[in-house]
């Protein structure tokens, strides 16, 4: 068990490093090194060279939500595939049938979304 946690100790270290590096460069070392001469033009939001207009918080189209939800559904499906794949040799035919039923039912779901024109963008 100790071996196990040791492995994750490195993961934790990497996470801490990953957080510390941008924090250090943006808020600690950066301000000390870079020149600081703010003007009005520099303070505006950068919007690919255009004059920024409107509010950043616009209302999104409901379509985005449906896409995100379809993503979640198939994300969960993928997640079930993984333990099935790694233990497949021990499980045999029965699990194959189970997984085929599962996938078949979800493919019906995908066809449903497609036929209901959820996937069309225009």
């Amino acid at each position: 068990m100790f071996q196990y946690w040791n492995g994750y100790l490195f993961v934790a270290l990497f996470i801490i490093l990953g957080i510390l590096l941008p924090v250090a460069s943006l808020w600690v070392i950066g301000p000390l090194l870079r020149p600081n001469h703010p003007t009005q033009g520099k303070r505006t939001t950068y919007e690919s060279g255009l004059e920024p207009f409107g509010d950043a918080r616009v209302r999104y189209n409901a379509r985005y939500y449906l896409f995100a939800l379809l993503f979640v559904v198939f994300d969960v499906e993928t997640l079930f595939l993984y333990p099935w794949a790694v233990s497949y040799k021990r499980l045999g035919m029965f699990a194959l049938v189970e997984m085929l039923i599962f996938l078949f039912l979800l493919v019906i779901g995908l066809v449903y979304a497609w036929r209901k024109k959820v996937l069309e963008w225009t």
Binding site: W5, Y60, D75, V86, L91, E98
Partner: protein, 176 residues
């Protein structure tokens, strides 16, 4: 003292502090979109707890589904509704006070019961039966939990169909 020198215990306290911090932020933010970010933090902390408990697969699943997908889903849901309005400032009404008392009582009872129980001692034997964690999950899922597994596919489809019914833009909407 061994209690505190135990490395996983220290890890647990750090993670627990992180989760509690995120949860408090979630409650105290005025803007919904920040709340969504804070709940992402809670999800990530929970994933860390799962990994600490030795449930790698569940931990990664938690990161993938909750911290990744669900948080994004919540964000989209907020962005397509009117998210400009911030919560009105908090007021102590009778209802709020009663809810607070009830919540504290519930928490106290849960804590008391859980702390007063002598839990089954930690089993030294490998709970995964010598398998790696995902393999153990696979064996349990496809041997003992066949029926719920198939029902889950129905559940996913119902969720999807429901969202399509409620959120889809229809031609007949424009006619009305």
């Amino acid at each position: 003292m061994t209690f505190f020198l135990n490395a996983p215990m220290i890890g647990f306290y750090i993670i627990a502090l992180f989760i509690l911090g995120c949860a408090v932020m979630l409650l105290s933010f005025q803007r919904v979109i920040y709340m969504a970010l804070a709940i992402g933090g809670v999800f990530i902390g929970c994933a860390a707890i799962y990994i600490l408990l030795g449930a790698d697969f569940v931990g990664v699943a938690q990161l993938l589904i909750y911290a990744g997908a669900i948080t994004i889903l919540i964000m989209f849901a907020i962005m397509l509704t009117n998210h400009e309005a911030a919560d009105p400032p908090h007021k102590w009404t009778v209802r709020n006070i009663l809810s607070a008392v009830a919540a504290v009582l519930l928490g106290a009872v849960l804590l008391l019961v859980i702390r007063s129980t002598t839990w089954p001692p930690e089993v030294e034997a490998d709970v995964n039966g010598g398998n790696s964690n995902p393999v153990a999950v696979g064996l349990a899922l496809f041997q003992n939990y066949t029926v719920p597994f198939e029902l889950v596919s129905l559940l996913l489809i119902v969720g999807m169909v429901g969202a399509v019914i409620l959120a889809r833009e229809r031609k007949e909407d424009e006619e009305e």
